[in-house]
C-alpha cells in the first residue's frame, strides 16, 4: 500500500428543506399528516411561550435560575416527535420543549426551578430521564439504556440530546464509541446552538462540522438546519427507523441558535454581538414554519391566534397550580429520604437529631 487517501465509507450528509425565508425545497418535502404538523407547531409555540413566561417569573423572583430554549424549538420538537412512548428520552438541561412534548408537566418544571426536588419526579408511565446538569455525562446513560433494549430484544430506541459544548467532553467520545461497538439503538441529537456559555463553537473544536465526529466511531451522521423543523423531522425519522430496525446509532447535528441568555444568570452581551443575534433572529424556526403552514393552508391566522391563546391559558393555569402546590411542599426533613432504599442507621440518627433541633428551634421561636 503506497501513499493514498483513505476512503471513509460512512456518509456524512447535510439536509435543509425549508429555508430561512420559508421557501420549500419541494423535492424534499416530507409527507407529514396535517394534524402532526399542527402538533409540531403547537409544541414549538408552547416551548417559546413558556420560555418567555419563565423568564418573566425569574425576573420577578418567583423562580430560580432557568435555562431558556428560545430558538431551539425546531431542533428539539422536530427530533423528539419521532419517538413513541415506549422509547426513551435522555435530555441535558435545555430541552424543556422536548420534555414537555414527552409528557412532562409545566408545573413540574416550575416547581423544579423553584428549588424543589419534587419537580424532578417523573410519572411511572413516562420513559424520560430527568435533566442532567454535568455536561455530556448523560450521553452514556442513553447508550446503557440502548444496550438494555437490545438485550431485551425490544424494538424501542433512545434519543439523547446534548449541546455543541458537550462534544468536547470525554463522555461524548466514550458514549459514541461504545454505541458504535455495541450497535445500540441510540439517536444522538446535538443541539449546536453555536455557544457553550461564552465559547463559540469554533473555539470548541477545530473540526468544521460537529457531525463529522461520527466518522471517529464508524457511525452515520447527518447535519441539518436545526431551525427547519421539517429537516430535523426527516433526519430523525431516518435515524429512528434505522435504530429500530437494528441498524444502530446515528449522530444528528442540528445547526441552530440560542436566541437568549445561557441561563438567567448570564449576560450574553459580554461575549457576542447584537448583529449576530439579529442575523439569527431572522432565521427564527417558528416564523418559518408558520409561513410554510399558512402557505399550504394547514394553518390560518385565526387558528394560530386561537392556538396561542390556548397555550397562554395552559401556561397560566400551570403557574397557578404550581404555586398552589408549592405552598405545601418543602418540609426540610424530606431531605433525608431516597438516599438509599433503606435508610442506614446512622442517617436515621441524623434525621432524628435534625427533627429534635427543629422542634427546639420552633419552641425557642415560640418562646422568644
Amino acid at each position: 500500500m503506497p501513499r493514498k487517501n483513505i476512503n471513509i465509507s460512512d456518509k456524512i450528509e447535510t439536509l435543509s428543506i425549508l429555508d430561512e425565508h420559508g421557501k420549500l425545497d419541494e423535492d424534499l418535502e416530507p409527507d407529514i399528516p396535517e394534524d402532526e404538523l399542527i402538533k409540531l407547531l403547537r409544541g414549538m409555540l408552547l416551548g417559546r411561550k413558556f420560555d418567555e413566561r419563565m423568564l418573566n417569573l425569574q425576573r420577578q423572583g418567583r423562580i430560580g435560575t432557568f435555562a431558556p430554549i428560545s430558538g431551539q424549538e425546531a431542533a428539539q420538537i422536530g427530533a423528539i416527535a419521532l419517538l413513541r412512548s415506549s422509547d426513551w428520552m435522555v435530555p441535558a438541561f435545555r430541552e424543556t420543549a422536548a420534555e414537555i412534548w414527552r409528557g412532562r408537566s409545566l408545573e413540574s418544571v416550575i416547581i423544579y426551578n423553584s428549588g424543589y426536588c419534587e419537580g424532578a419526579q417523573i410519572p411511572e408511565n413516562l420513559n424520560n430521564l430527568p435533566i442532567s446538569v454535568p455536561v455530556g455525562s448523560q450521553i452514556l446513560h442513553a447508550v446503557g439504556l440502548g444496550w438494555a433494549m437490545k438485550y431485551r430484544k425490544v424494538d424501542d430506541v433512545v434519543m439523547t440530546i446534548f449541546g455543541d459544548g458537550a462534544t468536547s467532553e470525554g463522555d461524548f467520545h466514550e458514549a459514541l464509541n461504545f454505541a458504535g461497538v455495541f450497535q445500540t439503538p441510540v439517536i444522538f441529537v446535538c443541539q449546536n446552538n453555536q455557544w457553550a456559555i461564552s465559547i463559540p463553537v469554533h473555539k470548541q473544536t477545530r473540526s468544521k462540522t460537529l457531525v463529522q465526529k461520527a466518522l471517529a466511531y464508524g457511525l452515520p451522521g447527518i447535519q441539518v438546519d436545526g431551525n427547519d423543523v421539517l429537516a430535523v423531522y426527516v433526519a430523525a425519522q431516518e435515524a429512528v427507523a434505522r435504530a429500530r430496525a437494528g441498524g444502530g446509532p446515528t449522530l444528528i447535528e442540528c445547526v441552530t441558535y440560542r436566541m437568549t441568555m445561557h441561563t438567567t444568570a448570564d449576560d450574553p452581551t459580554r461575549y457576542r454581538s447584537d448583529e449576530e443575534v439579529e442575523m439569527w433572529r431572522k432565521r427564527d424556526p417558528i416564523e418559518r414554519f408558520q409561513k410554510y403552514l399558512l402557505s399550504r393552508g394547514t394553518l390560518s391566522r385565526d387558528k394560530l391566534e386561537g392556538l396561542e391563546a390556548e397555550i397562554l391559558t395552559q401556561i397560566q393555569t400551570a403557574i397557578d397550580q404550581a404555586e398552589a402546590e408549592m405552598t405545601s411542599l418543602g418540609d426540610p426533613v424530606d431531605m433525608f429520604d431516597h438516599s438509599y432504599e433503606q435508610m442506614p442507621a446512622y442517617l436515621m440518627e441524623q434525621k432524628k437529631a435534625f427533627l429534635a433541633e427543629l422542634d427546639e428551634s420552633r419552641e425557642e421561636a415560640d418562646n422568644g
Binding site: H141, G144, Y151, H338, E341
Partner: protein, 326 residues
C-alpha cells in the same frame, strides 16, 4: 463444601447470580475470553455468552456510565474496573449520577449496579495498581462501599451487593485473591451489607479493621494473646459505608481501648471516621487515646518498599501495647 480461593469464591457468586437472574450482566475490560486479569470472571463467557459477559472498549467512564443506563432499564450490571487506581476515570459518573438517581428522581429510578475493583498493595505491582482509597467512596452519600476479607464473606457479600437495590462499590484485595482458601458452600449464602462482624471476642482491647488488613490484625490478636495474655476483640467492618458503628462502639464500651487499622493513607482516611464515632459514642468509656495503624500520607511506594508501607502484625501489636499501657 469446596475449599476456594477468594477469586474462585467471587467467581462462584457471579456464576450463581447470573444463573438466578438474567438481569445480571458482567461487563468491563478483558472480562470475557481473558476471564479478567485476575480471572474472577473466568468461564462466565463460556456459560453465558457474549450477550451477558461483555468485553468493553478501554474506557472506565464509558463502562460505568453505560452500567448506569443499564440499571435505569432494570438490569443489574456488575462491572469490573481493572484496578481501583483507574476508578478515578469514572469518579464523576458515580458521584454525579450513580449515587444520585434515586434521590434525584425521588425513588423513580434507581441504580442497582455493582462496581467491582481490585484494591490494595502487596502483590508487587506497578504504579497505580496498589491503591487503597475507599475513603473517597465512603464519603459519597448514596453509595455503599464494601470490602470483604476472605473467600467466604467475599462470596456472600458479592451476592448481596448484586441484589442490593443501590449502587455498591465492591473492593477486592488483590493480596487476598489467592492468599488462602476457605470452605465456601455451594448453596446460596448472603451477608447483609452495612453490618460489621465480631470475628474474635475479647475484653481487653478492640481492633477494628477490614479487607486485607484483617489478616495482620488477627495475627496481632493471636500474638497479644500468646505473648501477653491480652484478649483482643476483633471487628471486621465488611462494609465501610454506610458505616455500622454498633458493634465496635459496643465493644469499646466494654474494652475501653481501641486500635483502628487500614492500609490507606492515614489522614482523612476511613479510620478517622471510626475514631470520630468512638469519640461521639464511647468517650466516657475510653481508657486511652485510640491509635490508628495505617499507610502513611504518601503515595504507596513501588514494590521494593511497599512492605514497609503496609501495616503489619508487628505495627498493630505495637500500637495495641501502647494503648494498653496508657
Amino acid at each position: 463444601m469446596a475449599k476456594l480461593t477468594m477469586v474462585q469464591a467471587l467467581n462462584l457468586a457471579l456464576q450463581q447470580e447470573m444463573r438466578n437472574d438474567d438481569n445480571v450482566i458482567v461487563l468491563g475490560e478483558d472480562v470475557g475470553l481473558d476471564g479478567g486479569v485476575f480471572r474472577v470472571t473466568e468461564g462466565l463467557i463460556q456459560e453465558f455468552g457474549e450477550e451477558r459477559v461483555v468485553d468493553t472498549p478501554l474506557a472506565e467512564s464509558g463502562i460505568v456510565g453505560m452500567s448506569i443506563g443499564m440499571s435505569l432499564y432494570g438490569l443489574k450490571p456488575v462491572c469490573e474496573i481493572q484496578f481501583s487506581g483507574f476508578t478515578y476515570q469514572n469518579f464523576h459518573q458515580i458521584e454525579n449520577h450513580a449515587a444520585r438517581f434515586r434521590w434525584r428522581t425521588q425513588g423513580r429510578y434507581t441504580v442497582p449496579m455493582v462496581l467491582r475493583s481490585p484494591y490494595g498493595g502487596g502483590v508487587r505491582a506497578l504504579e497505580h495498581h496498589s491503591e487503597s482509597r475507599e475513603a473517597y467512596w465512603a464519603h459519597m452519600p448514596g453509595i455503599k462501599m464494601v470490602i470483604p476479607s476472605g473467600p467466604r464473606n467475599a462470596r456472600a457479600l458479592l451476592v448481596s451487593a448484586i441484589r442490593d437495590p443501590d449502587p455498591v462499590i465492591f473492593f477486592e484485595s488483590k493480596a487476598l485473591y489467592r492468599a488462602f482458601r476457605e470452605e465456601v458452600p455451594e448453596k446460596e449464602e448472603t451477608l447483609p451489607l452495612g453490618k460489621s462482624q465480631v470475628v474474635r471476642e475479647g475484653k481487653d482491647l478492640t481492633l477494628i479493621a477490614y479487607g486485607a488488613m484483617m489478616r495482620p490484625t488477627l495475627e496481632a490478636a493471636t500474638e497479644l494473646q500468646e505473648k501477653l495474655g491480652v484478649e483482643a476483640e476483633v471487628i471486621d467492618l465488611l462494609t465501610v459505608s454506610p458505616l455500622d458503628d454498633t458493634l465496635f462502639v459496643k465493644s469499646v464500651l466494654k474494652t475501653g481501648r481501641a486500635v483502628v487499622i487500614h492500609e490507606a493513607p492515614r489522614s482523612f482516611g476511613a479510620g478517622a471516621e471510626i475514631v470520630s464515632r468512638l469519640m461521639e459514642k464511647s468517650f466516657y468509656y475510653l481508657e486511652a487515646p485510640i491509635e490508628r495503624v495505617t499507610g502513611y500520607d504518601v503515595v504507596i511506594p513501588l514494590y521494593s518498599r511497599e512492605k514497609e508501607y503496609l501495616p503489619n502484625a508487628h505495627r498493630i501489636t505495637r500500637a495495641a501495647k501502647k494503648v494498653l499501657a496508657a
